[in-house]
Amino acid sequence: MALLRAAFRDLHGPRLHGFCLLVALGDRPAAAAAAAHAMADATPHLAELRHPERAAAWLRASAVPDLARRGRPDDPETVRRTTLGTLGVTDIAFDGLAALAPRERSAFVAAAIERLAPIDVEAVLRADAADARRLVMRARQRYLAAAAARIAREPLTEAAVTDAPPGALTERVETLAEQALGGAWSSR
């Protein structure tokens, strides 16, 4: 049993903690407490939580109410930015995530960052399909509005665009545009 518990913790612990950090917007005490409680809650159910994706959704669903209930973060913003920076969260992404309510952030992180299946996102949010979809869409809109506003505050030069992280989405759209124009156009 102890072995099973350790394996479960190793398998799910880091990503669950990462999820909590993102939803708590880098507030380490809140994230650690929520993740630890969720893991502890899961302990009696290890036998039922063998499917990794269902278990991931279960754990997140267990942590979300804790995270949503938290008020003011304990860590100052600079510390939170640094904390999330270790996970690869840029300032632009931080500002976008900061524009979301905790529950929206949970939905957005589960759907757009962790890319959980819709059924698992519903489980995380404990919502039905329509509500979950609506919440994810609203979160995506608000994230994009805030992050794009942040990008717009900086001069959006060609360099700023090309210096962006290897953007699979941008590249995909550019490739599509290039194909549509018969190779006559290129952004770079």
């Binding site: 913790r9 190793d10 612990g13 880091p14 990503r15 669950l16 903690h17 990462g18 999820f19 909590c20 950090l21 993102l22 650690a32 630890a36 409680h37 893991m39 502890a40 302990t43 109410p65 949503a68 209930r69 008020g71 270790t86 996970l87 690869g88 840029t90 632009i92 992404a93 976008g96 309510a101 905790p102 529950r103 929206e104 759907a111 757009a112 960052i113 509500d131 869409m137 995506r140 994230y143 994009l144 992050a147 794009a148 990008i151 665009v161 962006a164 992280p165 290897p166 953007g167 989405l169 941008t170 759209v173 550019e174 599509l176 545009a177 290039e178 124009l181 006559a184 156009w185 952004s187």
Partner: protein
């Protein structure tokens, strides 16, 4: 780039591309929208914003702490709801007591004019179950009646539920024989330390209170009467977004806690 693009067509393409992004950029966007997006700065900003998410790796987080963390009690998860439900049920039971008193009055005391005494009998029984010592001084945590600035020497803090119980039981415990202070007075006058409680003088029969339970009693404040519930705990969709309150079947994401008084933000 060389295409002749009218602003109206651009707006349409922009809207279509944005809709594709909002819906979750799975699959490919329409080609004409992709061509638009490839050189629209706003679309590129939005794509860049989403691309920033791709470098996030949650697996880099450390393991959460494990020592000393016990599984949460179930009560910890449902505490706000449980508290509200408990308070509401206390109010309902109290109301039923009043109704029962009204029905029993003629049989017990042989006349409709005796209603107050009967009320007291029923509620006294109900209240006595909750308070260990039915003596006149026992209610309200030992606040001495008639002693002016009475000090509640060993008085524990009175919770909302206890306060409602005590207040309901007050007529029976404070004065064993007939008088029944109006229930509304009894409920709204939950005592605080230093407050003296002089039982109302004997005998004005009071009208039957409405049995409708009011959620106001759910307020956890010891001075239980009070103002409206916070928007995030009032069971109402205050901001009209279809989501209701902090906790519930469809909680409102804008509510940061049950004490948040603004569902809209």
């Amino acid at each position: 780039m060389s295409r002749d693009r009218s602003p109206r067509n651009d707006d349409d393409l922009h809207a279509r591309f944005t809709a594709w992004l909002y819906g979750g950029p799975d699959g490919d966007p329409p080609r004409d929208a992709a061509v638009h997006a490839a050189h629209c700065l706003r679309c590129r900003a939005a794509m860049t914003a989403l691309d920033h998410l791709l470098v996030i790796d949650l697996g880099r987080a450390p393991l959460p702490p494990s020592r000393g963390i016990a599984p949460r009690r179930v009560g910890a998860l449902v505490r706000p709801r449980l508290l509200a439900a408990t308070a509401a049920s206390v109010v309902v039971v109290a109301s039923m007591g009043w109704i029962g008193a009204g029905l029993l009055a003629p049989g017990l005391f042989g006349g409709a004019t005796e209603t107050p005494s009967t009320d007291q009998g029923v509620l006294g029984g109900f209240g006595a179950g909750g308070s260990a010592t039915p003596g006149p001084e026992a209610s309200f945590g030992g606040v001495t009646s008639g002693s002016g600035g009475a000090t509640p020497a060993t008085t524990p803090a009175v919770s909302a539920d206890e306060a409602v119980d005590s207040a309901t039981a007050a007529p029976a415990t404070a004065q064993p024989i007939p008088p029944t202070p109006p229930p509304s007075v009894a409920k709204s006058s939950v005592p605080t330390a230093g407050q003296s409680r002089t039982p109302a003088p004997i005998a004005t029969p009071t009208p039957m209170p409405s049995p409708t339970p009011t959620p106001v009693a759910a307020s956890p404040s010891p001075s239980a009467s009070s103002g409206p519930l916070p928007e995030c705990a009032d069971l109402i969709d205050n901001d009209g977004d279809g989501a209701i309150d902090f906790a519930g079947v469809n909680p409102d994401p804008e509510c940061t806690s049950a004490l948040d008084d603004d569902e809209a933000d």
